[in-house]
């Protein structure tokens, strides 16, 4: 048994010293993505074209808006599966109240609804102590049902020109929706990395009991994280409605699973306390790029789903091999 302790020690040392970067999300995932880009660009000449790249960015925008705030929530140990349904309900409510409230009023109304849904999720989790998975699964079903009730099961058009600019307009060649997501991302990144609020999210997710006993108002922080999640779903619903020119009650079905997939892919822990937004960004890009590539390569929609699933399992599995028990087992055996 002659394991060189120096080489064994190195990865552990970097994790110990740089807690937020690295772990599962950094180098390995970036490599995976770069390999993907190189391979796909060889297979399809259109892939690296400017138009296609903007297409990819636009197509993941709605997912991205939600995933940013879901990442914050998950780092704090929470989970919100009601985001997809909230997106649909807010879209339906905005589109159906545009006549009565005006476009601006309808949008404001939609945002308030998103906040209230987040508040309700947060209250159920923090005050009644219901498990977040169960709480938001129940809310998912309830909210989706409400979307169908308010729309009568039909799509509602929303053709206001100014409103349409939100989802379809450009500034300097970049879609407004992409710019908005980037601003949200940078803002959230700064908050998570440099502010007391971000620190609280990590502390509560890492050990909520110790955070509580250290004097942090844990429930209040958790509540705000759920409210931000609800609000982000509302913003996403508004942009989606604008982009499509209509709101549909079945919109964004299953979006919550893509959100969770992107976040887990990015290395954020399901049990909280660990993770970062750069990882989520990569996770989103990988999902969006894969989706785009399979469409470019005319892979049937059925196989696309399988492809996404396999990539998710591979990425997370590789991570376990590199950093988990299995990896340690392999390293000590060799």
């Amino acid at each position: 048994m002659s394991v060189n302790p120096q080489t064994q020690a190195k990865p552990a040392a970097t994790t110990a010293v740089k807690p937020r970067i690295g772990i599962g999300s950094g180098a390995g995932l970036l490599m995976l993505y770069l390999v993907m880009v190189v391979v796909i660009s060889q297979l399809s000449p259109y892939f690296l074209g400017q138009r296609n790249l903007i297409n990819i960015a636009t197509s993941v925008s709605v997912l991205g808006m939600i995933a940013i705030f879901s990442t914050m929530l998950m780092i704090s140990g929470g989970l919100d599966l009601s985001v997809g349904a909230t997106t649909a309900l807010v879209g339906v409510l905005v589109a159906s109240t545009q006549g009565a409230l005006g476009v601006g009023g309808a949008v404001a109304f939609g945002l308030i609804i998103g906040l209230l849904i987040g508040l309700l999720n947060g209250l159920l989790v923090t005050r009644l102590g219901i498990n977040p998975l169960i709480t938001t699964l129940g809310m998912l079903s309830t909210i989706r049902g409400l979307a169908f009730v308010f729309s009568g099961g039909l799509s509602i058009p929303m053709l206001d020109k100014g409103f349409g600019q939100l989802g379809r307009g450009n500034i300097g060649g970049l879609p407004i929706i992409v710019i908005v997501v980037l601003i949200m991302f940078v803002g959230a990144f700064i908050v998570m990395r440099y502010t007391a609020y971000g620190r609280a999210m990590y502390a509560i997710g890492g050990n909520s009991r110790a955070s509580h006993l250290a004097g942090l108002p844990v429930k209040r922080y958790q509540l705000t994280a759920y409210m931000l999640s609800g609000l982000s779903a509302a913003v996403a619903g508004i942009f989606l409605t604008s982009r499509l020119g209509a709101a549909a009650p079945q919109a964004s079905t299953g979006l919550e699973l893509s959100v969770v997939a992107a976040i887990i892919l990015g290395g954020t822990s399901l049990s909280g306390g660990k993770g970062n937004l750069l990882g989520t960004l990569l996770g989103i890009l990988i999902l969006g790029t894969l989706d785009n590539a399979m469409t470019l390569l005319s892979v049937s929609a059925y196989y696309q789903q399988i492809g996404l699933g396999v990539v998710l399992l591979l990425a997370v599995g590789l991570d376990q091999v590199r950093f988990g028990n299995f990896g340690r087992f392999l390293r000590t055996k060799n």
Binding site: M1, V3, P5, Q6, A9, K10, A12, A13, A16, V17, K18, P19, Y194, T195, A196, Y197, R199, Y202, A203, G206, N207, R209, A210, S211, H212, L213, A214, G215, L216, P217, G273, K274, T332
Partner: protein, 506 residues
């Protein structure tokens, strides 16, 4: 004694281990004879835990050899160690909270009748095991409903009931009241008669002198030496081997003298009652005073400070800070009133293990370190640096080291630093040196006294009589949720404290 004929049961030879490029074990050797108690001594970070984790297969050694009955063995995982008859009782408790005491003790070997568990017999067997330690514990109770101390007892009983040749005990008595320590020692002596060997890690030197045959001392990952425990060896000799220089222990008399000035109490509690836990508690703590609350296992003394901290709902009574009645319903409010609590179970209740030293030290008070919610990194580092130096917090990778990688004593110092950083007026501590070694323990005591001298009011709950006697200026005893005695430093001694804490009449 001829070593050639009398082959040691266990030999660990020239064991080496490195973490993150830092050598934690440098050619450490020890041997264990059949039927002896070998004490393994050393300060935090000396390498004791690493050495026994290698013995148990939790870590892989980087060099050296392990021999059992003179034959080299390969221990790659805990299962290998178990097969060789090595049983561990770790300082950190590993238990399944949802299992009952009986299920924990009989894990994997529950008696069955057909396909069903024979609970009658299981409870009887568990009771039998518990009786070996004369422990009066309901085998039907769930592990999560036991106190820290009771869980530790179950661990000890479990090890004893297993078929082990070598039992390693890492601070088994850390949270025991004195009378229970004697019970454990009785059992250890019975084990010795049955030719079972014990490696015994403890920071309580008087225990070593009571129970151990020999002591192996480590310092900074190196073997200092092995000494036979005999009358010519003093505790001071061992401490010197561990620390590398002479140490003074205990309270300095000057700080005691300074104590005599009675200031207005900063914390006053009157008639405090939480039904089922404690009743009618009156106490007060003045700035500069260290008040110890002593009680035996299950006396409810820890519930009192948890109630003051807002963690336990109070039914009656009043809490006053600087004469003003306050209503505290959460630790958040307690902190805002200037009250801090260092909990007993630091891993679960005290620390965010995946955060680093800096983040844990500043966790309770961000406002002086932030501007518009943004951390002022330099200021945060300066504050943290100050506490690291002042408390002597030791870690491998500077203040960016995750708490997970700190030893018990250093973790406890981080929790202490957090409340000092939060600038509280009243600091409450629950079993402040549970699982903390000699060096860190005297650092912590010294720091408590220094803080008291600067005007901090300290209220300390402990089941460790020596601790209460050596640190407190005034001692209260609790028996079944009632105050049963109050002693000045001069009046208090082991006898009258134990008498009052055991419910004896005044």
């Amino acid at each position: 004694m001829n070593a050639e004929i009398n082959i040691p049961l266990l030999q660990m030879q020239d064991i080496e281990k490195q973490f993150y490029g830092v050598t934690v074990l440098n050619k450490v050797s020890l041997d264990l004879q059949t039927g002896e108690v070998l004490a393994l001594l050393g300060e935090n970070g000396a390498g004791k835990s690493t050495l026994i984790k290698i013995l148990n297969g939790d870590y892989q050694k980087d060099g050296g050899a392990i021999l059992i009955d003179g034959k080299p063995v390969q221990i790659n995982r805990p299962r290998d160690a178990a097969a060789l008859g090595i049983h561990m009782i770790y300082q950190e408790q590993h238990y399944a909270p949802e299992l009952s005491v009986a299920e924990t003790l009989l894990l994997g070997k529950l008696p069955t009748r057909g396909i069903m568990v024979d609970w009658e017999r299981a409870y009887a067997m568990a009771r039998q095991h518990l009786n070996m330690l004369k422990v009066d514990l309901d085998p039907k109770k769930l592990m999560m409903n036991l106190s820290v101390v009771e869980r530790q007892i179950v661990e000890v009983v479990k090890a004893i009931s297993g078929k082990a040749r070598i039992i390693v005990m890492d601070e088994p008595t850390a949270a025991f009241p004195p009378n229970e320590v004697a019970l454990l020692f009785d059992s250890i002596r019975r084990l010795i008669e049955q030719k079972i060997s014990i490696i015994y890690i403890s920071h309580r030197l008087d225990e070593i002198f009571q129970i151990a045959n020999r002591a192996t001392v480590l310092r900074d990952g190196k073997l200092v030496g092995t000494r036979r425990i005999e009358p010519s060896l003093s505790q001071r000799d061992l401490v010197q081997m561990m620390v590398g220089h002479e140490v003074a222990r205990g309270t300095s008399e000057q700080s005691l003298a300074a104590r005599q000035t009675e200031a207005e109490p900063v914390l006053t509690v009157s008639g405090l009652t939480a039904d089922g836990l404690f009743e009618n508690i009156d106490l007060h703590v003045s700035p500069g005073e260290i008040v110890g609350i002593f009680g035996l296992l299950g006396a409810g003394h820890d519930a009192i400070i948890n109630a003051i901290f807002g963690e336990i709902k109070v039914n009656r009574g009043q809490i006053l800070i600087e004469g003003q009645p306050i209503g505290i319903t959460s630790p958040h409010e307690a902190r805002n009133q200037g009250i801090g609590l260092v909990p007993a179970d630091r891993k679960v209740q005290g620390l965010v293990l995946d955060m680093d030293v800096r983040e844990n030290v500043t966790l309770s008070n961000w406002s002086p370190l932030t501007r518009f919610g943004f951390f002022q990194n330099n200021r945060e580092r300066e504050h943290t640096r100050q506490w690291i130096d002042r408390l002597g917090i030791r870690m491998a990778g500077g203040m960016a080291t995750k708490l997970r990688f700190l030893s018990g004593g250093n973790q406890q110092k981080v929790v202490l630093a957090r409340w000092l950083e939060a600038n509280v007026k009243v600091l409450m501590l629950n079993e402040p040196t549970w699982g903390v070694d000699v060096g860190a323990r005297s650092d912590i005591y010294a720091q408590l006294e220094a803080m008291a001298a600067q005007g901090l009011a300290i209220l300390m709950v402990s089941s460790d009589m020596d601790e209460v006697l050596s640190v407190s200026h005034r001692i209260l005893t609790v028996y079944r949720g009632r105050l049963t005695g109050q002693f000045s430093r001069a009046e208090a001694n082991r006898e009258n404290l134990l008498h009052a804490a055991a419910g004896g009449a005044e």
